[in-house]
Symmetry: C2
Subunit: 135 residues, 2 copies
């Protein structure tokens, strides 16, 4: 069961033109970002009531209780909201993968990463140099 820290009815959340707010879902233990979905006012209230994540599916245009069919429910440990009050952060304990592909997180593909052999970084010794310097 969830306990409200702030008066929900006093908070003026800013929903977009479709009446939605993005909701980031993060694993409460590993801190991994599992997914980003959307809530409307009704699904946010249902999340609070059930203690499990309930979204609004943009593709199906209806309330989506995560894991209701797959079993991969997300038990809510904490809910945060941002400074602009237009984004929600769910800290959850997930019963299974967040992603429909079976991956734990929907963010399983990397677009880019820091090139550690960048000129700004201290240069790594070359294999030959390394050997010379070692006993």
């Amino acid at each position: 069961m969830l306990e409200l820290i702030n008066d929900f009815n006093q908070l003026k959340f800013k929903y977009n033109e479709q009446g939605l707010m993005p909701a980031v879902v993060q694993d409460y233990q590993t801190k991994e970002v599992l997914m980003v979905a959307y809530v409307n006012q009704e699904s946010l209230k249902l999340s609070l009531k059930k203690g499990e994540t309930v979204f609004f599916s943009r593709s199906r245009q209806k309330i989506w209780h995560k894991g209701e069919t797959s079993g991969n429910k997300q038990q809510i440990k904490e809910i945060y909201y941002d400074c602009d009050q237009d984004t929600i952060l769910f800290m959850v304990k997930a019963a299974g993968p967040a992603c429909h592909t079976g991956e734990d997180s929907c963010f399983y593909r990397k677009l880019a990463e820091e090139n550690l052999l960048d000129k700004d970084q201290p240069e790594q010794p070359k294999a030959a140099e390394f050997k010379q310097g070692q006993v």
Copy 2:
């Protein structure tokens, strides 16, 4: 400098009606979610080029190089994208607070948390009972 893992031009990112995608920003060490902002195609390309987060400011309707005036830049360590290709995740090393309020994270306020004294949980011994049962 960032190295592309996937061919950016081959990826078909799904921008919304305003040409935007939400971008979650997470601290690469603490894993704290720092903020959620929006990118358009141009700002995402600039992020890749600079190796620092560049967003599109919805309020100012222009490209927003995070930290350009405040100094609180976010150096990109890794970029992930989600299964639907409509959300980006930046793993960053932040030079300062992400939030304009001075807080490290924009998600500094809690809406709700799990009530650990819930009926579903094993009941805690009452003070009187505890005393009786102890030496």
